[in-house]
Assembly symmetry: D2
Homo-oligomer: 131 residues x 4
């Protein structure tokens, strides 16, 4: 099974991504994009997307970017993630764009940027583990 299919299968098993309305926009080797339309039920008190919603799509994009480099049968889990919130998360359409920074046998390090209508609103650095 090719890596794109493996990513799409795993994404389909995630209930949380569909709960928030996120979809897989692009899967390439070492790079994954997840899209999220703005929704009124995903906000923090300031009226912008909740920081954790940005973290959610960035984290999932990081995990799947890592998964594209792992052997068939692998499962990916987040070890840790760190996200900086750069601008108020305003916009109609959000995209988390992740790439593998370093892919090892056990651990992978990934980075992701999150854009709101094309403007950078958050950036993540995360560590993933293969199971």
């Amino acid at each position: 099974m090719d890596f794109e299919q493996r990513v799409r299968d795993s994404f389909a098993r995630q209930t949380f991504m569909s709960t928030i309305g996120a979809t897989l926009a692009r899967v390439a080797e070492g790079e994954v994009e997840i899209e999220l339309p703005f929704r009124e039920d995903l906000l923090q008190q300031s009226g912008t997307l909740h920081a954790a919603v940005l973290a959610a799509i960035a984290d999932s994009a990081c995990g799947y970017a890592a998964l594209t480099r792992m052997p068939e049968g692998s499962e990916v889990l987040s070890v840790e993630l760190k996200v900086n919130l750069l601008e108020p998360a305003i916009g109609e359409r959000f995209v988390a764009r992740a790439r593998v920074v370093r892919s090892g046998r056990t651990l992978s390090v990934c980075a992701a940027d999150v854009f709101g209508d094309g403007k950078l609103v958050a950036t993540m650095l995360a560590t993933m583990i293969r199971r």
Copy 2:
């Protein structure tokens, strides 16, 4: 208005916390707890709570812990957060317990632990800003 009321008012303006079913369990000076019952629509592909759901309740608890130490009229925003996922997030009832580590005029640093049925499953270190 006392700090507990300010936290409860702000929490009520967050749509994302109610979307995932999280509630404010405890508000004390410098300490906030947020509870979340397990739900089938908050899972990652491994069948456990999505890492970002744990991050969501920990981040909100950190922000509100910081808010209890801020002057009336303040708004709190996340600058950055880092979370380590320690164990599979299994359980019926999750609690994020946050405390202020250092409270400054502009920035606050907070730590949070997330428990699933009493077992530590994640830990966060985060920076909050007053607006």
Copy 3:
């Protein structure tokens, strides 16, 4: 060989700790303290200890705290570390106090606080790996 001896042997092989004048102050199971006297050649431009010097003793203390829980023959390496600088690092004597938050077969998560003359100046959350 007991864990304290293993930590002391490993510490003695680190040239950087002695370059900055740091010493092992305490080794217990899951907890390690490293001490550092103030020195004029370890400063950042603000005249306080360089952030990375605080990170250095906190990181080493975290690694050795993790090592106390690992089987004989293990080597510990930092996967990643995150440190918040809380106060100007002023004082005569600095202590980094680390503890294991979660110890796994491959990865350990540790936390450390750094004190300057007893006052909390920095806090770390770090991930260690066994080799």
Copy 4:
């Protein structure tokens, strides 16, 4: 005074960078590079450069990258930093290359990569504050 001179003046006030033998290699608007030759007294127990030495040059490069975008008279301090160690830090010559990701009135977010003889060995995401 232009930004390059301000960075060079501030760097010259840092005693720690000269203690470890680091030098300013390049200063451009929003980008700073710091170089460090390998030295036997900067090692961790594994015989590679200590993680905190990589963090030191990455952190300083991040701070100075942020300073290039700040008004004259500003001082820069690290709020927090997170670094992932990607490969054993082996090599004769290390370079930390930092860039500003987002520059605000108070806070700046910077990223840095550290290379050992041209190979990526560590990556940092950090938050800086203007004083």
